[in-house]
Amino acid sequence: MRSAIVSRPLDPAALLAEVSGSANGAAILFVGTVRNVNEGREVSGIEYSGYTAMAERELEAIVAEAVERFGTSNIAVEHRLGRLALLEASVAIAVAHPHRAAAYDASRYVIEELKRRLPIWKREEYVDGTREWVGAARGQRAESRKQ
């Protein structure tokens, strides 16, 4: 297993190759990319920033949990920080497992936990020239975030 927070373009195919092996009958590659519309506004790009030391640690913990729960150590995850253009990948998750059900479950677990727990923020840049932190207007109580 491997996880990393990086500042360079992601190479999802390389992640998939990293986890694949002849004992695994299933390999899942999830790629999160920058979408052109969010809540009705036309997006031109996203700037990702993070509390890198904590994000690395939290991502490592999430992957370790997935290894434990789903019975495969063939998991590789990278999350990118910096300014990303439309279609660029912000996150890539590769999982390989002898069986497909567990591969799907592990992949889903990692993305959902990552979105809930990683101290990473995104500032969307819109076609009209404005920009805004995503979720900043939303009230978020500490209790609801605790596991």
Partner: protein, 80 residues
């Protein structure tokens, strides 16, 4: 005691800084530090009960602080 607070994203914009040193009495909690931050100019844009982490781990607001701790005040996360 002295602790370091870290601010990120919209919270860093609100206070205009990414890090603040705070002086707190012994026995102070993360919540006490947040109350001090909310008294800074722009601090009223921090929620009373934000997400918090001490030394890279999520904690509850009543978590005790020790000298030298790094307290991160974490805006709504938006990774992925």
């Amino acid at each position: 005691m002295t602790i370091t607070t870290l601010l990120f994203a919209s919270y860093a914009d609100a206070l205009g800084v990414e890090s603040v040193q705070l002086q707190l009495p012994e026995g102070a909690t993360a919540r006490d530090a947040v109350e001090q931050l909310r008294a800074f100019p722009g601090g009223d844009r921090l929620p009373p009960l934000p997400l918090l982490a001490i030394n890279l781990e999520y904690v509850r607001a009543d978590a005790p602080l020790a000298a030298g701790d790094e307290l991160a005040v974490i805006p709504p996360v938006a990774g992925g």
